[in-house]
Symmetry: none
Subunit: 252 residues, 4 copies
DNA sequence: GATGAATGAGCTTTCATTCAT
DNA sequence: TATGAATGAAAGCTCATTCAT
């Protein structure tokens, strides 16, 4: 389940930003002119170079860290490429050596976050498949782990999810992800019980969307602490009862 | 349940936008209290002047319509005040006679949408209270009506919900709204059954968040049509089973 | 005696200017303290960046020169940042790399003028202290030198003194300057004669204000040439007689 | 002695303002199209109409009062014609019925102030002529009365003197005024003593400029109260000693 | 006359991106 | 390769003034 930009939202971003990042590259934008070397094909929002040398690696890391901090501290709108470079202790020119544009930095950040979430999802999928584990327990673990992940850089994650303009690429990626998880869940649903559900695909989508939304809500707009615990319980309850009701019905 | 900007997110938008819309408007700092006229109190994101003459009313309407169209067509980032004015066939000066800043236009649009949703919520609340109506049926009607409302300007609503930077004011309003609906739902939950639920408040929050997220997903990221119907069924199923399970449990 | 912006006057300038220059710059609110680089602390009206490379130095110089010319030719009101940049043969972006806002350019110009006046004042102070030099002669020399300085860019200096909106900062600086010179003059008065004057502080203020006003008047609103010479004589006369009368009286 | 805009100062005013008020009327400016009735010849900065009816008189008064208050409270830059009209409880259209442009309002205000000062000057001139009154006493009375006048609307007077852009017309008027007073003073100087002064004209100018500058300084930048009194004493001292020294010398 | 809605040139300022050094 | 000065399109917003009603 992709966590960073769920129901998917994004912000206005600078009109500048937007006008430039979202619309076809402004006139002064220059396409990476087939430069060879360690460059990837010039897909717009991907890092420009695969850093080869350790120094380069560090530069890239510094840039991403600086960007993350800026976003977390000041919000997306105040995150400018020049500030990122300054914070990273790198010249703006160098920044553009490693990232073709601002969007690419955000994409990297997003992908980093996703990469962090990936194992959590994987493990939860395995647990869901495990017949020895109660559904509700598996779901609870999923929730708890996702919330843990979000707790590491809560502000960053929130901003990434809510404020950063979504590129076409990011949207497509999300859809693709959802599709993948849905397929996986459908299979699990089929395996876990003998009876067919009316619409396993629909069910999987609902589970995906609900989990995503509730996780995000709990992570980003924390209700008072004592309600929060209850909310987790309730969320888990809702989802597991939902699935089990099916089983019960079909079993009944 | 407020649908327009729920867990909703937004960012700072353009540094322009941010710097101006978020910081206190310095000039307007001293309001001339003696002055009468058709001005509202100078709260930042509220319309500046109440139109007095029919001509003015039309201007305001034209501006809002133009803004809505631009947003729907090009996304928030490409919506500039100058373009709005142009599209509205109105001078930029006129625009600023009625809206103190760009954000105020969005706020108006948002409030318009909210106003449209309000009666739907009201009716659904009444239906939920009605013991003669099955929970699941009440919830299904809620979903259907919300989706109908969202179907009027789907792209506009999506952008409003996902792309538009949320002001402090809007965020506070959302929280307040959620609180209100939660309270309402809690009461309904208590009335509808004899037994107490463990955490009616938590339950109400979960219902609110889930309904909001699923409505939005269904309205804005439409899955293929034949899946869509099933998804509505599933969503309704999930929510009503969730509530009824409680009853069953507590009753059992 | 500081000559550039004495009792000086100015207004808010454009509402633009005011609204922006006077209110705290919202964005710059959080200064990234970690960031090194050639930036000064982000005080509103100070230059933004210290130029590091010769090219940058030239840019700054060109901007200041262009601003000075525009002011002298067209007055402050017609001096716009875009015109300055154009005249300087520099992009508007470059201008804003070195000056955070329009006011900062004026501040620089003012400080430049002040820096030019400083040695004149210093020398005159020394001469006033010198018992071998007649008071009247010392004062005459002060006048002559100040007028010489003002003669370099008379129109610029006039506009700077009369038309340019004074920032809080500038006003405070002026007060501070006056205070400093007054203290200095008070000491000199005490040293130069055995008897105490009734109110050396008041006397010093009067001398400061009168000198400043008369210098400015002579430099900026030149009376016909043959009267001008007489006016200098009279001004010197007035001031020196004023001081000496005291001595005579107290001695008598 | 004209007090309102002495060494002549003006401000930046809005760039808008300036660009429009100082430079030749912007294109949209329309010349009063020979409208007959109670109109004066269309000199730009004079009130447009001589109000005939009492109601009109009140309107004009209300406008001027509103303008004065706005200036005093918020400074010149925040004084806009629309705000003036609003404050005056008059429509912006009406305002432009009585004043051809913003400058005319300021001109009126300035002239009002001058008119108030006029009798003070007249009386002082008579006292200066009066051989029974000591010079120093006459000058002291002049100072005291000028300061009293300035004390009525101190902020308004300061802003009028320091912030308001000076029109060509206002500058010319000032020069003319200075000329007139200088001539008057020259005659008085000649009458009051038998001997000729070296440069009565120069002396008169110096007296005029010094008095003006010191009055303004004392009125607008008030030093601490106990110093203030001493400063008045010193100012009077300086001026009277200056004149009397002449007499003494020529007599000696 | 009075009203007030409308106008629009023009201002300040930003920031992603380029490219000479 | 790294640097950082330079670029400039474009955005939000103001306010003196006009003119239809």
């Amino acid at each position: 389940m992709r966590q960073a930009t769920p129901t998917s939202r994004q912000s206005a971003a600078s009109k500048h930003v937007k006008a430039r990042a979202v619309s076809p590259r402004s006139k002064r934008a220059h396409v990476l002119k087939g430069a060879a070397g360690a460059r990837r094909a010039s897909s717009p929002d991907l890092p420009r170079k695969l850093p080869r040398q350790p120094r380069a690696h560090e530069t890239v890391k510094a840039i991403l860290q600086a960007a993350a901090k800026l976003i977390a501290e000041q919000g997306f709108a105040l995150m400018t490429t020049n500030k990122i470079a300054e914070r990273a202790g790198v010249s703006i020119g160098s920044l553009y050596q490693y990232f073709p544009n601002k969007t690419a930095i955000l994409t990297s950040l997003l992908e980093e976050h996703q990469a962090g979430i990936q194992p959590v999802i994987e493990q939860s999928m395995r647990e869901l498949e495990d017949p020895k584990l109660a559904f509700s327990e598996a779901i609870r673990r999923l929730f708890v782990r996702l919330l843990e992940k979000h707790a590491v850089h809560p502000r960053l994650n929130r901003v990434l999810a809510e404020e950063v303009p979504r590129t076409r690429r990011a949207i497509a990626l999300d859809r693709h992800n959802e599709e993948a998880y849905v397929n996986r869940v459908v299979e699990i649903l089929r395996k876990r019980r003998d009876t067919r559900v009316a619409h396993p695909i629909a069910m999987a989508h609902i589970l995906f969307q609900a989990t995503q939304a509730l996780t995000r809500w709990l992570a980003h707009t924390p209700p008072e602490i004592h309600i929060r615990e209850a909310c987790i319980d309730e969320a888990v309850k809702m989802l597991s009862v939902y699935v089990q009701e099916r089983r019960r019905r079909s079993a009944g």
